[in-house]
Amino acid sequence: MAKLELKNIKKSFGDAHILKGIDLDINDGEFVVFVGPSGCGKSTLLRLIAGLEAPTDGKILIDDSDVTEKEPIDRQIAMVFQSYALYPHLNVYDNMGFALKLAKTSSEEIDKKVKEAAKILNIEHLLQRKPKDLSGGQRQRVAIGRAIVRNPKIFLFDEPLSNLDAALRNKMRYEFARIGEQLATTIIYVTHDQVEAMTLADKIVVLNGGLISQAGKPMELYNNPQNRFVAEFIGNPKMNFLDAVIENKAQIKLFEGQILPVSSNGKSGAKIEIGIRPENIIIDDKSLIRAHVKFVEKHGGVVFAYVESANSKDTINIQLSHDTNIEIGQEIGIRFDAKNCYIFDESGNRI
């Protein structure tokens, strides 16, 4: 277990500025998920923490000691790669014991640790197999096992579930939560999948364009996004956005002219966007906001209707209960409570 501090981390490859100043504190034993679209710098940040790349500027501290210039082995971290990166010529046992062997650990000690880790991961029966004879999920476990045996201060996971199919991904997500609890150590987990972030994290760090967009507890980010990017990225299905203009301090005007009693502290006449989550939109035929149903998705327990309105650039997604009767082509009225609206100014900041 260890705490990690990142101080003004910057990383450039030539003219490409990948990270533009990251400040972050990760507490002892925290499960932190870095999430963001591809190219946001989350994997680069992980590689910097691992010591596989050196930052252009800034400092990395593990348990208050500066490790910025240190080799990976001296940082006492372990990393699980997206591709698993198992040594193909070694069997599972030797893959898991490789680091210990390099560290000149006695073979009894290696045996004990490898078997212990194999037990946690339910892979005791696979120890003599080569990686090529394992399924994706099994390889994943071996990769985690290789990290566990080293008893590291910090675990790093780089998109560990991306190479698995959907069913296995759900199962392994649950496994990760279990392993995370069992290991009770600091874990940093990188993913582009906000569902993984929401379900696994103690703390989510949303990265966008080389900067931290927002960091906080999953539900904090969901309920109180500080900007449009986080609002859109966190939550599945995505938040809907409607164009609007601030009428006065207590009201906004939608594109079609409807006035909503939403208070804001922006200037009158300023263009804004309001965000509403799909579950907060209600069908109300008396409502003045009119929309046409373009598509209906029946998921069984829940129904999603995609509707078009003059107020939004994209279709609006509405979450409905499974017994709702709704047909494609139908004209409906929609409304939402002012308390469920998020308001963003033109540059995407919450106001």
Binding site: P72, I73, F81, S83, A85, H89, L102, R150
Partner: protein, 292 residues
């Protein structure tokens, strides 16, 4: 069945070409090796007699054959590993991120492969010249007395090894570069995290990953080096003191100098058996190392 027949038609042209131009001559040579095919048989086939294993027995009793075999084995076991080490070394250097002017260096290293052997051999003859050669000139700067590279029995074969390594390493270098570029950087990163230093990463990640290429290159190099002929033919004519007579050189002399085609064919088949044996040993060794 119908589909299989159609398939055969597609394979037939290549198959026929292989049989006519490869298996045919090889089989003919095998038959000739059991005859006393010579210049008289060329004039009139009635002079051709089957002599059984006589050619082979005589060959094994010829001192020059053993001399040629030991010269060839020296060339294979010293030159082969040297050539592969040079190829792999150059490939690793050119594959490293720090390398500058990669394309230029690759071109320079590959150039000898595509140059004419006879021309470059002649150039090397001058480079290795006792009085005017650049090599001796360079050595003299370090206070080393001139060496008669191609005239001294001790140095003639090493000089040819030097030339062949220079001429051939670029080809295998390209194969190794291709193999190295396919080594997953994740594996190397994983090994770094596991605490492996550069040498341990080379042993545990790079080497196993390029194992199949090493096997391929070692078999190709070995079979190629067993067939050393043109270089001594151009540079030393087998001399001095038969130090650069190779098995293939001996076959050439038997066949096309003395027109003992029966003898020459026997030499060719003994050489073939050696190469087959070596290939089997290499493949077995590689499969023990886990290379498939």
């Amino acid at each position: 069945m119908r589909n299989n027949n159609i398939g055969l038609w597609f394979v037939a042209p290549a198959f026929i070409a292989i049989v006519v131009f490869f298996f045919g001559p090889a089989l003919a040579a095998l038959i000739i090796s059991f005859t006393d095919f010579d210049i008289y048989a060329l004039a009139d086939l009635k002079n051709l007699r089957f002599v059984g294993f006589k050619n082979y027995i005589e060959l094994l009793q010829t001192p020059l054959f053993w001399k040629a075999l030991s010269n060839t084995l020296f060339f294979v076991f010293v030159g082969g590993p040297l050539s592969m080490a040079a190829s792999l070394g150059a490939a690793i250097l050119l594959n490293s991120q720090a390398a500058k002017f990669k394309n230029l260096a690759r071109t320079i290293f590959f150039a000898p492969v595509v140059t004419t052997l006879v021309a470059t051999a002649l150039v090397f003859k001058y480079l290795l010249h006792t009085k005017y050669g650049f090599l001796n000139f360079a050595l003299s700067k370090f206070g080393i007395d001139p060496i008669d590279w191609l005239g001294d029995p001790k140095w003639a074969m090493p000089a040819i090894v030097l030339f062949v390594v220079w001429k051939s390493f670029g080809y295998n270098m390209v194969i190794f570069i291709a193999a190295l570029q396919n080594v997953s950087s994740d594996l190397s990163d994983a090994a770094k995290i596991d605490g492996a230093n550069a040498w341990q990463r080379f042993l545990n990640v790079t080497l196993p990953a390029i194992g199949p290429s090493i096997l391929l290159v070692s078999i190709m190099t070995m079979t190629g080096f067993f067939q050393l002929f043109a270089e001594p033919y151009v540079m030393t004519q087998g001399g001095p003191a038969e130090q650069t007579v190779t098995v293939l050189y001996m076959m050439y002399e038997q066949g096309f100098k003395w027109w003992n085609l029966g003898n020459a064919s026997a030499v060719a088949f003994v050489l073939f058996l050696f190469m087959l044996l070596m290939t089997i040993i290499q493949t077995k060794f590689a499969s023990k190392q886990g290379v498939s």
